[in-house]
């Protein structure tokens, strides 16, 4: 299975382009709105993470790769950057049982990704952060 790739400058201004690129693959599969939102949330959190932290205070690029699978239908999305080594999965999960006053908002984005994806893996290899998520698609 060949990976379809998009490389953009890692800036939040490019979020729409990244989401559009991923969503085009989902539309071909008649993916349910629920799963489509979960995937968009995951893509946003991971791309924005790279945009905010990977090259800070400088800039650099991020590559988003999409692979589609059949039987069962699934999508895998790989985020690659050449920024500082950073494993977002190492972060402790937020305590989501705390009251509004006590709630800390940090770490919520990556927590949402962990909860909604079927598989998530990080590696640092050849000077690159590589994060891959996979989600089964309950197609309509």
């Amino acid at each position: 299975m060949e990976m379809d790739k998009l490389t953009v400058e890692a800036k939040t201004e490019n979020l729409e382009e990244v989401l559009g690129f991923v969503d085009r693959h989902l539309e071909e599969k008649d993916c349910s709105p629920k799963v489509s939102v979960q995937i968009d949330v995951a893509v946003e959190e991971l791309f924005v993470n790279i945009a905010h932290y990977a090259y800070s205070p400088g800039t650099g690029s991020a590559t988003i790769g999409v692979e589609m699978f059949e039987d069962p239908a699934a999508i895998a999305i790989t985020f690659t950057d050449q920024g500082k080594p950073f494993d977002p999965l190492a972060k402790e999960d937020p305590d989501i049982t705390l009251s509004a006053e006590e709630r800390q908002i940090g770490g919520l984005g990556i927590y949402m990704v962990k909860k909604s994806m079927d598989d998530i893996a990080y590696e640092y290899k050849d000077g690159q952060n590589i994060l891959r998520i996979k989600k089964n698609l309950d197609t309509l």
Binding site: V37, V41, E44, V48, I96, L108, G109, M112
Partner: protein, 98 residues
């Protein structure tokens, strides 16, 4: 995202349409900052909100904290896709959802 604001006395109604994400959340934050003074009842209608990310949740949480000091905040007309995100993050327990 489109933000429609209606003020009736000390009641503020904000209707959101579209996507509340990293790039649009600051617009809602700015609108709240501008409009929330003196308000005792804030109603956020998200019937037409299709999508919310952690950046959007962050703004809703900070609005909730402000309103808990000066009145009430209610979120209404939540779509299934957005409700799912509230549930995963425990926000369904924090926010007043109608």
């Amino acid at each position: 995202m489109t933000i429609n604001t209606t003020v009736t006395g000390t009641e503020l109604n904000i209707a959101l349409e579209g996507r509340l994400d990293t790039n649009t959340a600051p617009e809602l934050e700015a609108e709240l900052k501008k409009s929330v003074a003196g308000i005792t009842s804030l109603v956020i209608d998200i019937e037409k909100l299709e999508y919310i990310s952690s950046a959007g949740l962050r703004v809703l949480l900070s609005a909730h904290k402000i309103m808990s000091k000066q009145g009430t905040m209610v979120i209404k007309n939540v779509r299934d896709e957005v409700r799912e995100i509230f549930e995963v993050t425990g926000f369904d327990e924090i926010l007043n959802i109608e």
